[in-house]
Structures are given as structure tokens and as C-alpha cells.
């Protein structure tokens, strides 16, 4: 209705509306201006995606996944208790990943007696869920030492470490020689230790196919390089006899952001496929056919909503989302599904790692899942303060050991560090000293 009203009444009405309109417009102009609030918006992305996930529709793989998860959890517990070999078809003699040193408990008891205070740390988003539960538990037991961990990404964590604004940093790939060159020479040597172990699933959304797909590294590389274009391509059907695969185009789902997950995945593809030309890096120049989404959660959501897609997501996300993931052919020629056990079995094959020799992809052993890697904690060998220095080494020592933080790993579907790596971490932390040269890590 076109109603004409008296001017007086309408002016009152409009001036009121006018005022309100401007207030709200001004407020979103403030909060949504280009490029100003990048930092804020990054943190907004991850959580709601997770909480918004609904289980997948096809029940076949889901129940199997659930069962697998249960098996994995039980098996992980057994692995911890007995430090025995992996539980997957134990045809070969898989090394056990070492034995924890006998004085572990004495160190852990002393770790909890760190002086009160606050530690600042920043870096990897991948390690954040684990650090959150581990540091929370540490603070509850220690009563006084807080760790303020900023989940800003590995690159930003390294930058903060180079600038000396954090007590320690976390990165999915160890600092390179050129990264280390940017640490002031006066700061002395840098210590880098593995703090978590992650596996990467190749998850897919393939309507009508209930049998778990089997893939090998060369085929996965072909799919993500864009050379294998359809689900019924001969390379895929040859590995999956008896499975009727659709002729639909494959949609590869990859990470849009620079990520340690991408590094480990491309490290694997570069290791196993001679045809892989895209290198190993935290960012890859993916083919144009790939759909790129930010963070593990973004890739997970995109796979979920895109039929005929396939992507690589961190194992914890795949398990939490009940994704259907492929069994991957390992170095021993066995098709292994990703699980906490099979990733631990892969890592246990290489008991000596360093910041320059850290790749654990495609390890030997029939039970090894071949796509796995460590995330790293980074600290200075010569701490500038005795108090925060002691706090830093004690918190980290507690976090990376069974009996301490590693006991919480399985609860959030993270893989427990092999005992040999835990011992190696302690050896490295024992070399850290305070300003006057005294060792900071002690046992009670």
C-alpha cells in the first residue's frame, strides 16, 4: 500500500530509523574492513566447523570405522602398558620403538615441581588440541605454572621465536638452516624436539561404494597431481578388484593454507612416486581441478559436502568425523588403514630422528601406516632466565612423556610418541642450561 502520511509523523519515524541504520552500518564497517582484522578472523574459523559436523550417511564404513577406532584405542593402551610391538598382522618383527628409561617417573615427579609463573609460547595449530589438554592438566597438577600457548601457525611461531618473544615455539616442520640463521647469534644453539606424532588419512566421499578402497602411493600421487581423473580409472580399479567404481570425475580436496599436514602428505608422495613433480612443501601448487579449503576442518567439511571428492586430513579429524578413508599400501606391500596403532608402528621403525633427518613416511614393517610425521617444540639451549627456563624444560619434558602429557594423547586421538623418541627428547632437554650454565631438568 502506498500510504501518504502527515509529514510530521513520518519525519519522526525516519529520523529514528536513519540513526539506527547508521549505527549498525558503521559498526560493521569497523569490524569488517579489508585486511584489518585478519588475526581475529583466523581464530574464528576452526571450532564451529567441528561442532557442526554430522556423521556420514552410509552406515557400512561408519560402523567399521567405529570398531577400528575402538580397536585402535585399546591397542594404543596395550602398546603403552607393555611397550610391545603393534597389534596389526604381526607377520614381521616390527621393532618396538624402544623402552622408556627407568628413571622416567623420577623426572616426571620433578617436572611437576616447576616454579610458578607464566610461560609464553606460540606456533603450530596442529598441536594445539594436544597442548591445550596437556598444559591444562599440567597446571592443575603443578598449581602455579601457566602456559599461554598462542595457536598462530608454525610460521608465525617461528617468527616469534626468532624475535625472542616466546619461551618456546611449536612447528610442524623443524626450523631450517635459513630459519636458524635468523635467530640472534648471541642466543646460542636451538633445541628442536618432537612433541606429537600425527598420521594423515586419505579420506573420500564416494556414494554407492561401501567397501574400503585400497590405494598405493603412486595412485594417490596421480589423483592429487590431476593425472588420474575419474574414479573408474584403470589405476584405481586395478587395486580394487570386485569393487564397482563410478565414472564420475574425482574432486581432489586439499589445504588452501600453508600447513604441516601438506608437508607430510607431499613428503610421502615425493618419497613413493617418481612421477610426483610438485615437491615436498607446506604449500603445493596443486592442479586447477583441486578444491582448496582452509584448515583440516575446512577440508573435512568440504569432503563431507562434495560427493566423489577425496582429500587428505589429519587422522584425528577423520576419526572424529567418521570419514571413510583408504587403506594405503606400505613399504612391505601390505594395505594398512590409518589408526593410532598403525601410525605408531610406522614411527617406531625409525628410533633416531633429528631436526635435519626427520621424515618417517613409508617406513618398513607390515603394520606401518605410511603417511605420518612429527610436530616439533623449539627452544633455546641456553635459557635467559633460571625460573622460566626451568619451567619451560619441565613442562615440555612432562608433555612429551608417557606418565605425563602423552597419557592424554589417545583421548584426543593423537598418536603417542614412541618410547625411543621420548628418551631422545629427554636427552636433548637435559642439555638445556640456565644463564649461569646449570642444568635445568632434574629428577627427584
Amino acid at each position: 500500500m502506498f500510504v501518504l502520511r502527515s509529514p510530521r509523523v513520518r519525519r519522526t519515524f525516519t529520523s529514528h530509523r536513519y540513526g539506527r541504520g547508521w549505527t549498525s552500518n558503521a559498526s560493521y564497517a569497523r569490524s569488517h574492513g579489508p585486511a584489518v582484522n585478519i588475526g581475529l578472523e583466523i581464530t574464528e574459523v576452526e571450532e564451529p566447523v567441528d561442532s557442526d559436523m554430522t556423521p556420514q550417511a552410509d552406515t557400512g564404513p561408519r560402523t567399521r570405522t567405529a570398531r577400528l577406532l575402538a580397536v585402535a584405542l585399546v591397542a594404543a593402551g596395550a602398546l603403552l602398558a607393555a611397550c610391545s610391538s603393534s597389534s596389526t598382522p604381526a607377520t614381521t618383527t616390527a621393532p618396538i620403538g624402544g623402552t622408556l628409561s627407568s628413571d622416567n617417573a623420577a623426572y616426571l615427579a620433578a617436572d611437576l615441581k616447576a616454579p610458578a609463573g607464566t610461560l609464553n609460547a606460540s606456533g603450530s595449530t596442529f598441536v594445539t588440541p594436544f597442548f591445550n589438554v596437556a598444559f591444562h592438566d599440567y597446571t592443575a597438577k603443578n598449581q602455579g605454572l601457566q602456559v599461554n600457548y598462542q595457536s598462530v601457525g608454525s610460521g608465525a611461531g617461528i617468527t616469534a621465536f626468532q624475535a625472542g618473544t616466546v619461551n618456546f615455539a611449536a612447528s610442524d616442520v623443524p626450523m631450517t638452516a635459513s630459519d636458524l640463521a635468523k635467530v640472534p647469534a648471541a642466543s646460542g644453539p636451538v633445541i628442536q624436539i618432537p612433541d606429537t606424532l600425527g598420521g594423515i588419512s586419505v579420506s573420500y566421499n564416494l556414494p554407492g561404494v561401501t567397501k574400503r578402497l585400497k590405494l598405493d602411493g603412486v595412485t594417490v600421487a596421480g589423483i592429487f597431481a590431476g593425472t588420474i581423473k575419474t574414479w573408474n580409472a584403470p589405476e584405481i580399479t586395478a587395486l580394487n578388484p570386485g569393487v564397482t567404481l563410478p565414472s564420475n570425475a574425482i574432486v581432489p580436496e586439499v589445504r588452501a593454507d600453508s600447513s604441516g599436514t601438506t608437508y607430510i602428505f607431499s613428503d610421502y608422495l615425493a618419497t613413493v612416486s617418481p612421477a610426483w613433480t610438485l615437491g615436498r612443501s607446506k604449500t603445493i601448487a596443486w592442479p586447477a581441478v583441486a578444491v582448496q579449503s582452509p584448515h583440516n576442518s575446512g577440508v573435512a567439511a568440504s569432503i563431507k559436502s562434495t560427493p566423489y571428492s577425496i582429500g587428505y586430513v589429519e587422522l584425528a579429524y577423520a576419526l572424529q568425523n567418521n570419514f571413510t578413508f583408504a587403506s594405503i599400501k606400505n613399504a612391505a606391500g601390505v594395505y594398512v588403514s590409518p589408526s593410532l596403532t598403525s601410525v605408531a608402528a610406522d614411527a617406531a621403525q625409525k628410533v633416531n630422528i633429528s631436526s635435519t633427518d626427520f621424515s618417517i613416511v613409508n617406513a618398513a614393517g607390515a603394520g606401518s601406516y605410511p603417511i605420518a610425521g612429527y610436530s616439533w617444540a623449539i627452544l633455546l639451549q641456553k635459557q635467559t632466565s633460571e625460573t622460566t627456563g626451568a619451567g619451560t624444560v619441565k613442562v615440555l619434558d612432562w608433555t612429551v612423556h608417557t606418565g605425563g602429557g602423552q597419557n592424554l594423547a589417545a583421548g584426543i586421538q593423537n598418536v603417542v610418541l614412541p618410547p625411543a623418541i621420548q628418551n631422545q627428547d629427554r636427552t636433548a632437554l637435559l642439555t638445556v642450561t640456565g644463564p649461569s650454565g646449570q642444568a635445568l631438568l632434574t629428577k627427584s
Binding site: H32, E41, I42, A288, Q292
Partner: protein, 306 residues
């Protein structure tokens, strides 16, 4: 308040100087941060096609095009629908419904962008892939702009999400400026025997056009700079899209996706991308000002907004 005039002047000058200083500081620090990229790569990298940080290539052209394309799609949808809604709200909707509808519009404006992005990814993307994209292909396929598979995420969906996000801005501002067109003119036109449609078209819309342009400028600015929602639904493919259905990327989505892990030249190139975005924003503003100036000169009654 019995302050001398001089004191008021001083106070206002100080406040204005703080503002100008902030803007200058912001722009200069952006330039300083972006400078290493320009000194290593020259200037041509801005219009090069390849973004591949691993191999030291930082071409921004796909992202500049993606930003412009998504904004264009959003505005093509938002201008007619936003203006129509605003006209309806200001002149057609019964009086007692206006308040609640107005509140609804403002509510939409207050939804955080990440929520729009999630809604787009989880709810709209499957609908887009199953229904909208096949439909668009069947109707507009002859243009050659709709080749390729229906993927859900991509330029179309990003444009639609941006449209949904800028619509409240368009509607709220348009409604307000339409409503302050002097009633005398409306009544005068009615008295001369104009139909309602003629009144809207010849009196109300021309009278409010500077304000409408102001609303359009704000909407464009929001669409250009929107970050998280776009990053979730555009597919983030760093290639020039050959189809409106293709995954693409925008300057803000490039920045937000790569900022966390970027170091060295890449970080600097991302600041460069921010600088380019700023230049595009300033360009749009300048164009809008020019338009406002030209229409204000020829316009009948105009309302000063912006």
C-alpha cells in the same frame, strides 16, 4: 560549556589529526611491510598469473580477478533485490510490519561473517551443486561461462554468499535514504496525477540517488574485503577461473589462508596483496565519489549521504 572558540578548534583539530595520523601510519606500514616483495620481484609480479610460493612465484592476477568477479556477482544480485526490498520497506509494506522487517534486516547485518561462510559451505554448497549450477548451465551454457563440472564451491557460491552478506547493508541504507525524500515532492507528484510506479521511479529514486550510491559503495567495500566467509566457499584455487562455476580465490582469502605460515618474501607478498586490495577499495570509492558528484549536479532534490 563556556569554552572559547579557539579551544573547540584546537580540540577538533587534534581529533582530526589523530585520525589522519592513523590512516597515514596504517598505509605507510603496509607499504613498508610489502616493500621487500617489490624490491625482490619488481612490480610485474602483481599482474602475473602464477602463485607458487615454493618456487618463489607470487603472481596476484588470479586473486585480483577473483575479487572483482565475486564482487560483481554479488552486486548484480544485490542492486535490484536490495533496492526493491528497500522501496517495499519504505513505501509498500503496511506500517506496523515495517519495524519488525527493519529489525530483521539489521539482524542479518549483525550475523558474523564466519557463520555465513559455514552456512554457505554446509547448506548452500550441496544445493548449488545439485540444482543451481545444472540449471544455470542449461540456461546460460551457450555463453561458454558455465563450462566444467558442478562442484558447489566456487565463484558462483562465493558471489551468492557475498550477496547475502551485503544485502542488509544495501537495504538498510537504501530504505533510510528513500524515506527522507521530501514528502512534499511525493505529494506534489501524486497531485499531478502520477501513478505510484511513476512516483517511485521519477521522484523517489532520483531524489535519493546519491544516498543509494553511498549504500552501494559501502556494500561494494564489504564484498571486496570479505575474508572468512569467502575463504570457506570459494575453493581457493590460485588459478584464473575459466568458468563461473570454477573454484577461484580472492585477495582476502589468499591473505587469510597463507598468513599463519608465511615467512620472508611470501609474507611480504601477502602485505603487497593487502596493498593492492586497498588500492582497489580506494579506486571504488573514488569512482563512487565521481558518480555522486555528477548525479548531484544534475539531480533534483538530493540527500547528502556518505
Amino acid at each position: 560549556m563556556a569554552l572559547p572558540n579557539g579551544a573547540y578548534r584546537g580540540l577538533l583539530a587534534t581529533v582530526a589529526a589523530v585520525f589522519v595520523g592513523l590512516v597515514l601510519w596504517f598505509v605507510i606500514s603496509l607499504i613498508v611491510q610489502a616493500k621487500p616483495a617489490f624490491s625482490t620481484l619488481g612490480f610485474s609480479w602483481i599482474v602475473q598469473k602464477t602463485w607458487d610460493p615454493t618456487h618463489g612465484k607470487f603472481g596476484l592476477l588470479p586473486f585480483i580477478l577473483g575479487t572483482i568477479e565475486t564482487t560483481a556477482i554479488a552486486l548484480v544480485l544485490a542492486v535490484p533485490i536490495g533496492l526493491g526490498t528497500a522501496l517495499a520497506l519504505a513505501y509498500l509494506v503496511p506500517h506496523r510490519l515495517r519495524a519488525s522487517l527493519g529489525t530483521a534486516v539489521e539482524l542479518l547485518a549483525a550475523v558474523p561473517s564466519v557463520v555465513y561462510g559455514l552456512w554457505g559451505l554446509i547448506v548452500l554448497a550441496p544445493l548449488c551443486r545439485e540444482y543451481l549450477e545444472p540449471f544455470l548451465t542449461s540456461v546460460f551454457g551457450w555463453t561458454g561461462l558455465f563450462n566444467g563440472p558442478d562442484q558447489g564451491v566456487g565463484l558462483v557460491l562465493a558471489g551468492i554468499i557475498l550477496f547475502v552478506m551485503v544485502l542488509p547493508t544495501m537495504v538498510a541504507i537504501s530504505r533510510d535514504v528513500l524515506a527522507v525524500v521530501p514528502n512534499d515532492q511525493v505529494e506534489g507528484a501524486m497531485a499531478l496525477g502520477a501513478t505510484r510506479w511513476q512516483v517511485l521511479r521519477k521522484v523517489v529514486v532520483p531524489g535519493a540517488r546519491t544516498g543509494l550510491l553511498g549504500g552501494l559503495t559501502l556494500a561494494t567495500g564489504r564484498a571486496l574485503g570479505e575474508t572468512v566467509a569467502v575463504a570457506l566457499v570459494i575453493g581457493n584455487s590460485p588459478y584464473i577461473a575459466h568458468s563461473i562455476k570454477s573454484p577461484a580465490a580472492t585477495l582476502p582469502s589468499l591473505i587469510v589462508n597463507n598468513f599463519g605460515e608465511a615467512t620472508g618474501t611470501e609474507l611480504s607478498a601477502l602485505f603487497g596483496a593487502g596493498l593492492v586490495l586497498l588500492v582497489i577499495g580506494v579506486g571504488v570509492n573514488a569512482m563512487a565519489r565521481a558518480l555522486v558528484r555528477s548525479t548531484a549536479r544534475g539531480g533534483a532534490a538530493s540527500v547528502a549521504v556518505a
